[in-house]
């Protein structure tokens, strides 16, 4: 019998604050250069759940599919259904991202479907945020920032890699053509935001709602 304290970490009556709260994106909307090469939008306060288990165990794979309707992705994979996405983080670790407010119910559903198994579900929503980058010049900006090859031949849509980025670390997710997401840790968020402003300066950076 385990004694895991599962509770709603972000009740509806508490306003959340993203790691980039201080950047004031709301005030920056529409102020960038027109036809900017990079358009940035923070997908803030989503539900992030770290899921760990044995991918070789059919009961685990089946349980995850039953709870989420998504198959566990293989190495460097990213699968999505609507606003929910499941990403491979390591051989026994996945990151599940659900819309804001759904993380508690999703965690309970996962725990129910995987009851009795040797698994772990951790709500890490407060620890990271997602920056969505769109535009023709996003790939050029990524090429300046990371040593990883971001050419579509090596980095197709539906791939996600953790790598070195601007001497820091983050996860790059290619979610659609000319659309990339950066999964940024809370403590690195301010640094990455400053880096992005500098790196995007030559292409023009626009903030979107």
């Amino acid at each position: 019998m385990t004694a895991i304290n599962v509770y709603n970490q972000r009740p509806a009556d508490i306003a959340g604050q993203s790691p980039l709260h201080h950047a004031g994106f709301e005030q920056l909307i529409g102020k960038g250069r027109p036809n900017a090469g990079v358009r940035l939008r923070e997908r803030k306060l989503l539900g992030h759940l770290t899921l760990r288990g044995d991918a070789k165990d059919p009961a685990f794979c089946g349980g995850v599919h039953q709870a989420l309707g998504l198959e566990l992705p293989v190495a460097l994979g990213l699968v999505a259904k609507g606003e929910t996405s499941l990403q491979w983080m390591g051989p026994d670790e996945w990151l599940l991202i659900v819309p804001r407010g759904e993380e508690y119910a999703t965690e309970l559903r996962l725990r129910e479907a995987l009851a009795g198994q040797h698994i772990q579900v951790v709500n890490v929503s407060g620890g990271q945020t997602i920056l969505e980058l769109k535009g023709d010049k996003v790939r050029d900006m990524l090429m300046k920032s990371t040593s990883y090859d971001v050419h579509p031949d090596n980095f197709p849509v539906g791939k996600a890699v953790g790598t070195v980025f601007a001497k820091s670390q983050l996860v790059i997710r290619h979610t659609a053509e000319n659309t990339w997401e950066l999964l940024v840790r809370r403590s690195f968020a301010d640094y990455i935001w400053l880096w992005l402003q500098d790196a995007c300066a030559e292409y023009g950076l626009a903030i979107e709602a």
Binding site: L76, G90, P91
Partner: protein, 106 residues
């Protein structure tokens, strides 16, 4: 830049994503209480530093954050293989000597 193959991610990644973590295949004594000071000291502090092939533990620190083993030549820095924890290396110093005796160069 050196590219290292991560056996978990299944692709070559640049060296800066990794960090070395010392000698591999060090078995913890099954019964530490029964060890002499010398045996425990050997286990805890003493590491091989060969000139030649060395089996090492590496961490894919900014990728999948998993440990794996690598066989590296300490003179040329050539990494001959990487393999998951629990697997055995295909390249060993003993096997290398045999192939050298047969006139096969690595």
């Amino acid at each position: 830049m050196l590219n290292i193959f991560c056996p978990h991610c299944g692709e070559l990644r640049s060296e800066e994503e990794f960090s070395p973590a010392g000698q591999a295949h060090i078995a913890r004594p099954l019964n530490p209480e029964a060890c002499s000071d010398e045996e425990w000291g050997e286990y805890l502090f003493f590491r091989d530093s060969p000139r030649g092939l060395r089996h090492e533990l590496w961490l894919h620190a900014s990728g999948c954050r998993k440990y794996f083993n690598a066989t590296r030549h300490t003179v040329s820095y050539e990494i001959l293989e990487t393999y998951k924890i629990g697997e055995q290396p295909a390249f060993t110093e003993a096997a290398g000597k045999k192939s050298a005796a047969q006139g096969v160069s690595a």
